[in-house]
């Protein structure tokens, strides 16, 4: 199959993810969308690896998965902390960083 199809799918997934991050206010959903973006990247990496005929891209995809797992741990930890303090699960309500 032509590599273009994989890349189109990857771009679509990425766009969905980015849109979700920008539009949704729930931190949980934002986290999901982030994962979507990362995996879109993974898909592109694997596709390129396949077409180039070597394994480096696949190794990178594995590394990205590890990083994504770590990120999820932190993100979920934050969400649990927010929940425990009975804060609204709404990123727009978290505005303490305003300059």
């Amino acid at each position: 199959m032509d590599i273009a199809w994989y890349l189109v799918l990857s771009a679509l997934l990425f766009a969905v993810g980015a849109g979700g991050v920008l539009i949704r206010r729930s931190p949980l959903v934002i986290l999901l969308c982030l994962e979507l973006m990362l995996n879109a990247g993974n898909l592109a990496l694997v596709a390129f690896a396949r077409s180039a005929g070597n394994e480096e891209g696949q190794v990178f995809a594995l590394v990205v998965m590890v990083v994504a797992a770590c990120e999820v741990v932190i993100g979920l930890g934050l969400i649990v902390a927010m929940f425990r303090r009975r804060l609204a699960l709404d990123v727009d309500a978290m505005r303490e960083l305003k300059g």
Binding site: V21, L22, I30, V91, K98
Partner: protein, 668 residues
């Protein structure tokens, strides 16, 4: 073992002693600390003798040995070794320093007995001896400067030893500051030597200097003048001398060790060590000689007027070092160094005797209060008079031969140098008077109250008071009281003083014109390349000089007898007749005030100006402008920080998208 091995041992013992006492002060009893300190210096003295014997085995022209422990720095043609130079001059200095120091340590073991800071004292004292030995054994300018600065620090620490005494800490700071002025001179001299000759090593630089410089070339005169700044600050020559009288705030053994016998002779040593430079720069050598002459005359006039026992001896030290500076500057190396040695003996003896008298007076230092100690303290009085005789150059004593060696050399060179002979004899006359001003005032006359009390077998006690200000002392951190130590009752003090008295009486016999010249033959190994060294006044001329010196000395003692014993009121009448002169001398020629007006006040004024104008306007202005810029820029970009996480994400993604579009446009 070679001479250099012995020399390393000379350095090692005092350093080890200092460290052991300093680190083990909780474990060691005071008595043990004192004996460790004394033993370390005694071993250093033994090692110096070892170095001397090994050096004497070598032929005369091979008596300049160098050795290096390791290379301290090596970069871009600059090589600095931790190196020593063992030659007759450095071994001679080692013998004088360690020999006198051993006796002073022995004296201190008893004298400082009741002092709370006993261990600290011995640690400092050993450190001082180590620094001084490093200074005299240094084989290059870098090590010399290290030793030079260590000595300055040790002097500061020991002057401020009674650190609760305000006057002592002030005096310590004054000594340190003036010493640092000298250090700067020496450091600059070393820079110039390296720039012109490309080496820091003594022997290499001497050889290179003879090839590179012509006589009286500007650079070599500048190098010598910078060295003289260092030498004059250490050796208390006009106008950098004001720290030495104030340094008498330290304990009396410190005055004996540092401010009479060893440290203050460092400048004399420096001029003698650098003789190839000074012979290439006769102008600088003449400047040094004239300043030495001025110092010896100024100091001896002040010594005639001041009343503090230790300060009289301090001014006498300045004056005697003036003789040495004159000697080594005009080329009388043997004479200058010979006087250095005999002076170390009799001046240390005088300080020790003074310490004993001051203890008997319960820390009163005013000689107007002292009289008639000859029956109460026969030993101290006898040894004090021996010291005074040697100081006054009484015929036969050590000072008699050494002082006249310098003056005979000056008259032998003739011409302008006759000024030094005549000035030296005038100084010698005043020296004899003030020496016996001390001698007669303390020993003869009606016994004072303290002497009578001592004759009845009881040592006078008093609340310790600062002799300078009359304030009560804080005895918690150490003070030579309430138990005072006098030589009559303490054997170590008596032994140390007796040995020094033997040196003061008979030390001159090693160098008698026409009879023997031990020192001259020994020092030939260092100075044989010097043309001036080989000028030796004829025996007849030397003895003629000795005759004049002897007559002047006896005349001076006679005047002192007339003024202080036969007609005790005569000095008071003299003071009443010329009150201005007396006040001028009593205020030490107003040198302190002069320094105050020329250096201190302008410096303070500049500081005030810098604080009120420069710092407030310029420095603060720059700082405030910088913070203002940062603050303004911050308020501009602060608007971007909305706190909305999603806005940040949008910026990020938008930015990346814009970058991607840009690259697409560029690549197509």
């Amino acid at each position: 073992m070679s001479a250099t091995d012995w020399a390393w041992l000379v350095l090692a013992f005092p350093l080890a002693g200092s460290l052991v006492i300093a680190l083990g002060f909780r474990v060691l009893s005071p008595k043990a600390a004192g004996w460790i300190g004394t033993g370390a210096i005694a071993l250093a003295f033994v090692s110096s003798i070892g170095a001397l014997l090994m050096l004497l085995d070598e032929p005369t022209d091979a008596r300049q040995l160098t050795d290096s422990l390791y290379q301290y720095a090596s970069a871009a043609g600059l090589e600095i070794d931790l190196g020593i130079l063992v030659d007759p001059l450095s071994v001679f200095m080692c013998l004088v320093v360690t020999g006198v120091s051993t006796l002073i340590h022995l004296y201190s073991v008893a004298y400082m007995d009741s002092d709370a800071g006993y261990r600290r004292f011995f640690s400092y004292l050993n450190f001082f001896v180590f620094s001084m030995l490093l200074l005299v054994l240094a084989g290059n300018f870098v090590i010399l400067i290290v030793g030079w600065a260590f000595v300055g620090f040790a002097s500061y620490a020991l002057i401020s030893y009674w650190y609760r005494r305000h006057t002592a800490t002030t005096a310590g700071m004054k000594a340190f500051v003036i010493n640092v002025v000298g250090d700067i001179g020496l450091v600059f001299a070393a820079f110039f030597v390296f720039r012109e000759l490309g080496t820091f090593d003594f022997l290499d630089s001497f050889d290179a200097a003879r090839e590179t410089f012509t006589t009286n070339e500007g650079v070599v005169v500048a190098i010598c003048c910078l060295m003289l700044v260092g030498a004059f600050a250490k050796s208390a020559q006009v106008p950098l001398h004001t720290w030495l009288p104030d340094a008498m705030e330290g304990p009396t053994p410190v005055s004996a060790l540092i401010h009479a016998a060893t440290m203050v002779t460092a400048g004399v040593y420096l001029i003698a060590r650098m003789f190839p430079f000074f012979e290439l720069a006769p102008t600088a050598a003449d400047i040094a000689a004239f300043i030495g002459l001025a110092t010896l005359l100024i100091a001896s006039t002040i010594a005639l007027a001041v009343t503090d026992l230790k300060r009289i001896i301090a001014y006498s030290t300045m004056s005697q070092i003036g003789y040495m500076v004159v000697g080594v500057s005009i080329g009388a190396y043997v004479g200058g160094l010979f006087h250095l040695m005999t002076h170390a003996f009799f001046k240390a003896l005088l300080f020790m005797a003074a310490g004993s008298v001051i203890a008997a007076m319960a820390n009163v230092q005013n000689i107007d209060r002292m009289s008639g100690f000859r029956r109460a303290m026969p030993l101290t009085s006898g040894l004090l008079v021996i010291g005074c005789l040697a100081l006054a150059a009484f015929p036969g004593t050590s000072g008699f031969f050494s002082k006249d060696e310098i003056l005979a050399f000056a008259s032998d060179r003739g011409g302008m140098y006759l000024i030094f002979t005549i000035g030296g004899y005038i100084g010698a006359f005043m020296t004899a008077i003030y020496a016996f001003r001390i001698g007669f005032r303390v020993t003869t006359g009606e016994p004072c109250e303290e002497a009578r009390e001592l004759e009845r077998g009881h040592l006078h006690h008093a609340e310790p008071r600062n002799p300078a200000t009359g304030e009560g002392e804080d005895t918690d951190v150490g003070f030579p009281g309430p138990e005072h130590q006098i030589a009559e009752r303490r054997r170590p003090m008596a032994i140390a003083m007796s040995v020094l008295a033997a040196g003061a009486l008979f030390g001159g016999l090693i160098q008698i014109p026409g009879v023997d010249a031990v020192l001259e033959h020994f020092l030939e190994g260092t100075f044989e390349s010097s043309p001036l060294f080989h000028i030796v006044p004829s025996t007849a001329a030397s003895w003629f000089g000795l005759l004049i010196g002897g007559v002047i000395s006896i005349a001076g003692i006679g005047v002192a007898y007339y003024c202080y014993v036969a007609n005790p009121g005569v000095t008071a009448r003299l003071i009443a007749r010329v009150p201005r002169v007396h006040r001028f001398l009593l205020n030490k020629w107003y040198f302190d005030e002069l320094q105050d007006a020329l250096v201190y006040r302008p410096a303070i004024a500049i500081g005030r100006f810098a604080n009120s104008v420069f710092e407030r306007v310029v420095v603060d202005g720059i700082v405030n402008a910088a913070t203002g810029v940062v603050r303004g820029a911050g308020s501009v970009v602060r608007g971007a920080q909305s706190g909305f996480v999603r806005a940040y994400a949008l910026l990020l993604i938008g930015g990346f998208a814009a970058l991607g579009v840009y690259f697409l446009v560029v690549s197509s």
